[in-house]
Subunit: 383 residues, 2 copies
């Protein structure tokens, strides 16, 4: 199996793009990645997307994007793993290039969510849960995460304000990311006083939806001569039951654990070697659970990394350095690719005031459903 | 890149399965493929599906199926290329195994369509077309194919009855396939007198929808010792504009041509070597266009293969030997996997009265949209 390198990145600002269609956003990101890679075309396009069929009435998305980006005729397919679609798309592209089937590939993540009524979006998002045994009972996606957060607070004795550092750090970092949806800092007081959504999750525990697209250009590493290379050193996916109530231990993201362990092994590293970690902070509770499952904290102690400043750009394990889902925004199927784009920016040293000093090994973890599909990637800069 | 072999197949009958959910159907096919392969588990599951988010409110389908099939935790992802999803899922699984990322994979195609009102299904199917420039203008999927058929008749001077042999052959073959949806033969008179849907396409030009699932079990060929092996000798995908009006030549399936040429080259064969061809006869016109683009007939002459009996099980290039989309049925995202299952059955010699004598090399071609995404596979039996 050939090693794969990322030689181009592109992204749109995440926003309410009422003047741009899903194809416009996707094409903008793809063209940016092509330009960044210095390439005119690619052998394939792997598009991560969850809801284009429901929200945009455009299920068959990948060949459309290829065509409108000037790449008519290339192999292209849509990969769907709910909110984990972006990470899954990179993994599909990676296997295409690693296997030798393709010599280059574009990996796209795109979602267009804000043209619809929020009720429609909430219903569409719920298709990431178990339709028959969760959604049918009336539980929404926020509701599922609220149950997890409540249980976590009960088990380990944390109070709501203890989750604040995850949101505060994300907002503070997003201020310096021109592609982020939100550009305002928040305080603990803001966090505690924001509108309740599903107890105990309030507005500032939750990530905002948005319209956006991000893209990568990947090639076999062997094709590159000299210079700095960003390698995909680890790539793994694992799953869990979709229904949270089917898990023996709802507070343990087993798919995060499995995929992280596999990625660590492939990359020959451990949690102590990770310089930056773009995690899937759809809700603050998910930050804590991810950090724990990936070996950065003991069970029930992920919260402490926030409270003690370890997650800041200069800390022990910096997370959401470009704003995370919380403040960069969470255009669902695009998020996993935004995460990779941001890790690449860190490894290239392009992150200005939220740059992690001497970042050489970065990790990204993308979660579909309430922990059902989890894809973990580890990138390394060489030399 | 490692060669890949298919060691297990499974399928459900295609029907109106009002007593089975999409997960039930998928699990049934997956368990059948596991049993056929003599395996207990697999490293990954690649699920081809188009409309589970829209019609079943179950977008995140792959981990759900893995879990309920007894494979909780394995890597699993949904692959969507509209009606070409099944073929695309095999291609994704193939690259996962060929690259060495996985040592075994299940490939699933599944669609559950008949629980919804036909208007909802028609709208869902239309998401395979260009939402902004085709569907928005009011053209349905049948409508697009009707425009192609009308143009073909005009250009090449064929009359409607000349398309009948494709439907008659499919129905005749389906009678012997217990998994087919339709089990009745039809005549030219039936064909000419059936209800008009979108001139010139009538009911018997069109394939029926249905609920169904089919699955494959694939492994590296090198893992097999002795005995007969069914190898994936060629695998390729290509795309075209989604909107039919954007093509310079609407009667030429350029993605069929490209993917077939690539698959021929990989397999070291040409059209003259193909013993059986499971083509994508969603409408009779597509049979003619596929045969032409794949090199079995000159432009405008694909019809002749039907009229002269070449497509029959004992003919020069047998097609739809198990009933095809027309009579086996077309559960959209599942179809591409049914085609592969049927080619495997032919190469194993399991097709009874529609067995192609001494079939050793088989081809399957799966089409997403009106020719937008086309995936072509060539299978070889060894020895």
């Amino acid at each position: 199996m050939r090693q794969v390198a990322i030689i181009g990145i592109g992204q749109t600002k995440i926003d309410e793009h009422w003047n741009k269609s899903i194809r416009d956003l996707a094409v903008e990101a793809v063209r940016a990645a092509l330009k960044d890679a210095g390439r005119e075309s690619a052998d394939g396009l792997f598009a991560g997307n969850m809801m284009s069929g429901i929200l945009d009435l455009q299920n068959n998305l990948a060949p459309l994007v290829a065509d409108f980006a000037g790449l008519k005729g290339i192999e292209s397919v849509k990969v769907d793993a709910a909110c984990g679609s972006g990470g899954a798309a990179l993994r599909a592209g990676l296997m295409a290039v690693a296997s030798g089937e393709l010599e280059s590939a574009l990996v796209l993540g795109v979602e267009k969510m804000t043209d619809r009524h929020p009720h429609e979006v909430t219903a569409a998002l719920a298709t990431a849960a178990d339709a028959d045994f969760e959604v049918e009972m009336g539980v929404s996606f926020v509701g599922l995460n609220a149950l997890l957060m409540r249980r976590y607070m009960h088990e380990y004795g944390w109070k709501h304000a203890d989750f604040a550092p995850f949101a505060i750090n994300a907002h503070a970092n997003a201020v310096h990311n021109p592609f982020a949806r939100l550009h305002h800092k928040i305080t603990v007081e803001d966090f505690e006083n924001s509108a309740m959504i599903a107890t105990p999750i309030n507005l500032l525990d939750a990530s905002p939806i948005g319209d956006g697209a991000a893209a990568l250009y990947i090639v076999p590493a062997e094709a590159l001569r000299g210079g700095t290379r960003i390698l995909v050193a680890g790539s793994a996916a694992a799953t869990d039951t979709i229904a949270v109530h089917d898990r023996a231990d709802a507070l343990f993201l087993s798919a995060a654990y499995k995929s992280a362990q596999a990625a660590y092994q492939q990359a020959g590293v451990g949690p102590q070697d990770i310089d930056v970690f773009e995690l899937h902070d759809a809700f603050t509770i998910m930050s804590a659970l991810s950090l724990e499952a990936c070996g950065f904290a003991e069970r029930g102690q992920g919260i402490r990394l926030g409270l003690e400043g370890d997650i800041l750009p200069g800390g022990r394990i910096p997370v959401t350095t470009r704003g995370g889902l919380k403040a960069r925004g969470h255009p669902v199927g695009a998020t996993g690719v935004y995460q990779i784009v941001e890790v690449v920016q860190q490894l290239r040293g392009e992150c200005g005031s939220t740059q992690v000093p001497e970042a050489r090994i970065g990790m990204a973890q993308n979660i579909g459903g309430s922990g059902a599909t989890i894809v973990t990637h580890i990138l390394k800069r060489e030399p």
